[in-house]
């Protein structure tokens, strides 16, 4: 992979200030106070229904918290950082793979004359040139997710959110996604990713946000989290026990 045109050295910091999310009278998340700073990779972990995806959506701004505040500290004040999100099931437009990428470039205002060339660069980078003209939605699961990553890469994000991006993929495709995540991070892109796979988290995480039952249980550097977590719930989770 080539180096990216404009690596960003100052990572934006995300602060959640007593954030909670309530739906139809039921509190699904919170209150959570959390600060994600530094350039690393944060893995959001926890059992099913812990609120991992919900937390990610609140951070990305797809959902607004019912109470509390989500805000960014960036080098350019009062402007949220450029962000992108990769979903568990990639949402691809009913167009060719190439057209999906040029569409993304249009959304960030890339001049028309440059879109095709830049889209091809991305296809090359993610090993997708052979499927450029195929309809995106008939690609295999692994190809679709790589295309979603290529699209996210073209958006030149400072922060990339990934919601269980490998949960439906085979081992080879999982490796391709994890390699891409590492490469993104080497380019200076802040990673926030959910996963319920402990092995994957061990491979990727710099720090771990552990949720259970909509509550933040702990936020610890990865080494400590996997060796000797601060809380009994995290211990149980790592040892594969059920958490009630």
């Amino acid at each position: 992979m080539n180096t990216m045109a404009t690596p960003c050295h100052t990572a934006p910091a995300l602060t959640l200030d007593r954030v909670s999310f309530t739906h139809r009278g039921q509190r699904l998340l919170g209150e959570i106070s959390l600060r994600l700073a530094g350039p690393g990779k944060t893995l959001v972990m926890g059992p099913n229904g812990a609120g991992k995806s919900l937390l990610l959506r609140l951070c990305h701004g797809l959902l607004q918290p019912t109470a509390g505040r989500v805000h960014w500290t960036t080098p350019a004040p009062h402007r949220p950082p450029r962000q992108a999100m990769v979903f568990q099931r990639p949402v691809l437009l009913r167009r060719s793979a190439l057209a999906n990428l040029t569409y993304a470039l249009a959304t960030i205002g890339t001049p028309f004359s440059q879109r095709r060339r830049r889209a091809w660069d991305a296809l090359e980078r993610f090993g997708l040139t052979t499927i450029a003209q195929r309809p995106a939605r008939v690609l295999s699961g692994g190809e679709q997710q790589r295309l979603a990553l290529a699209r996210a890469w073209l958006l030149e994000p400072q922060v990339l959110f990934l919601d269980e991006p490998t949960s439906a993929l085979d081992p080879a495709a999982i490796k391709a996604v994890e390699d891409a995540v590492n490469e993104f991070n080497h380019q200076g892109i802040r990673i926030v990713m959910t996963s319920h796979d402990l092995h994957q988290a061990r491979r990727l995480a710099d720090n771990v946000v552990f949720l259970s039952g909509g509550q933040l249980i702990e936020h610890t550097p990865a080494e400590r989290f996997f060796a000797s977590p601060d809380t009994r719930q995290a211990q149980a989770f790592i040892q594969g026990e059920l958490i009630w």
Partner: protein
């Protein structure tokens, strides 16, 4: 038994008219197509964005509009015709325009008939697509307004079927165009009104000939809708 011979005779004459491209028949077919195509284009230009907006925005009274559109899909053509007639008649609010008994009045009546169909079905399709695309498009930083062209384009094959359904309704109805057009020979006589008139007059050959053309047209439209849907499913998944 006189009837079978009569029908046989009429059928033979009808086929001759169709095959020879009889000028009277041709003029009626051309006028019918012109009116219905214009109506469908006008209705689509309004109904596609309207349906998409109804799918994306939730506001007080939205449910009422959705129910009204769904109900209007089954609006009896004669009622649509009567309404447009009252609006365009000399004493009506738009009487000054002098549109009654012109092709323009027929276009308006067909727009009234077709618009609810296209709007209501568009809303359903765009709502389903938004459920799938919503988060991704929001993640791109799109507002709902900016999402509309994307959604309409990505729903294009489904929407073509919707528009063809509208065209089917417009070209096959008789009540509305009869009331506001008046079935004037050479001016506002279209296939359906001509069939009604020629049947009454006993000119079964021309009526049957027009019936064959109309039936073929409707069959072609449905075949096109089917083929478009099938190829979209195969190609786009």
């Amino acid at each position: 038994m006189a009837m079978p011979a009569l029908i046989e005779n009429a059928l033979a004459n009808a086929l001759t008219l169709v095959i020879d491209l009889d000028p009277a028949l041709r003029d009626i077919v051309v006028l019918s197509l012109r009116i219905s195509l214009t109506a469908v284009v006008v209705a689509s230009l309004i109904a596609l964005p309207l349906g998409a907006a109804l799918a994306l925005w939730h506001f007080p009274g939205r449910g009422l509009i959705v129910v009204a559109l769904n109900a209007l899909m089954g609006l009896p053509p004669v009622v649509a015709g009567l309404t447009v007639y009252l609006l365009l008649s000399r004493a009506g609010p738009f009487g000054e325009l002098g549109l009654l008994f012109t092709p323009a009045a027929m276009v308006i009546a067909q727009v009234v008939l077709v618009l609810p169909i296209i709007a209501a079905l568009t809303r359903q399709q765009i709502e389903a697509l938004w459920a799938e695309y919503g988060e991704q498009l929001t993640s791109f930083g799109h507002g709902r307004l900016r999402a509309i062209p994307t959604l309409l384009w990505d729903a294009r094959f489904g929407l073509i079927t919707v528009i063809l359904a509208g065209f089917g309704r417009a070209s096959a109805e008789v009540g509305a165009v009869l009331i506001v057009g008046g079935n004037i020979d050479g001016v506002t006589r279209v296939m359906t009104t001509a069939i009604a008139l020629e049947t009454n007059k006993g000119n079964l050959a021309l009526a049957l000939g027009l019936g064959i053309v109309l039936l073929t047209l409707v069959a072609l439209v449905n075949a096109a809708a089917y083929l478009i849907g099938e190829s979209a499913r195969r190609r786009l998944g």
